[in-house]
Amino acid sequence: MALIELLILLLVAVALWTVQTTIMRAAIGLALTSVVLTLLLFHMGAPLAAVFELSVCAGLITVLFFSTIGMTRPLDAAGVKRERKALSRRFHPAFAVCAVVGVLLWGSGYVLEIAPPQGESPGVRDVLWGMRQLDLVGQILVMFVGVFGVVILFKERKQEATP
């Protein structure tokens, strides 16, 4: 079995496990999905995107999920048991749905026709700083909006707490 096939199988298996397990394990499963995706990106020749995926998605977002779960889910042993029971009832059909979609996609028989690339492909640095400058401006704006959003969310709660 080729490496790419192994990685895709691993990615799908980890994603399905993430969907049907408890919330804490789902956060770990999401980090594992990111790690497998990182390996895929490295293999496909996108090392910069892979490093971003590993550091941000497997690192920062996992920390965000853990802190959110810590702040919102003080479950006791009975609660965890109840949650597992509900999950098995609600999320086991996910395997069947994903299997049907996988079989449909695999058997669609779509023939790919791609024109061969013309000329030399530019480097990531040239693309980011030369061709996609507007994207960088957009990224900075989105980051500001995110920071303001989080600050406002926490500020409102602080005001509510002090009468």
């Binding site: 799908v12 969907v19 959110t68 999320f91 994207d135 990224q139």
Partner: protein, 107 residues
Amino acid sequence: MSPNVWIEHYRLISTGAGVLFTAGLYCIFASHDLIRVVVGIEMLTKAVTLMLALAGALTGRMATAEAFIITLIVVEVVVIAVATGLVVGIFKHHGSARVKFIKRLRG
């Protein structure tokens, strides 16, 4: 690797991305928990990342695909940060992070 190598694998990778996307959608629709909905959104973006990388590999324009993936990751982080902040806010307000509580909004 040349684009021809990836043409052999495109069906496998696009099927994998499709299954990942379906798993994320299922997670969003079947869940009663807001954190699990955010997990589903995160899974959708992973499928899109994979498809962008595949498009870059197939067309031989991986640098452009990488630029798009980096932009996607930045947007994803901001979306997750704001979404988790909202989840915490809803929990503080209602004492639970269940979906049914955001159905009771005014307006």
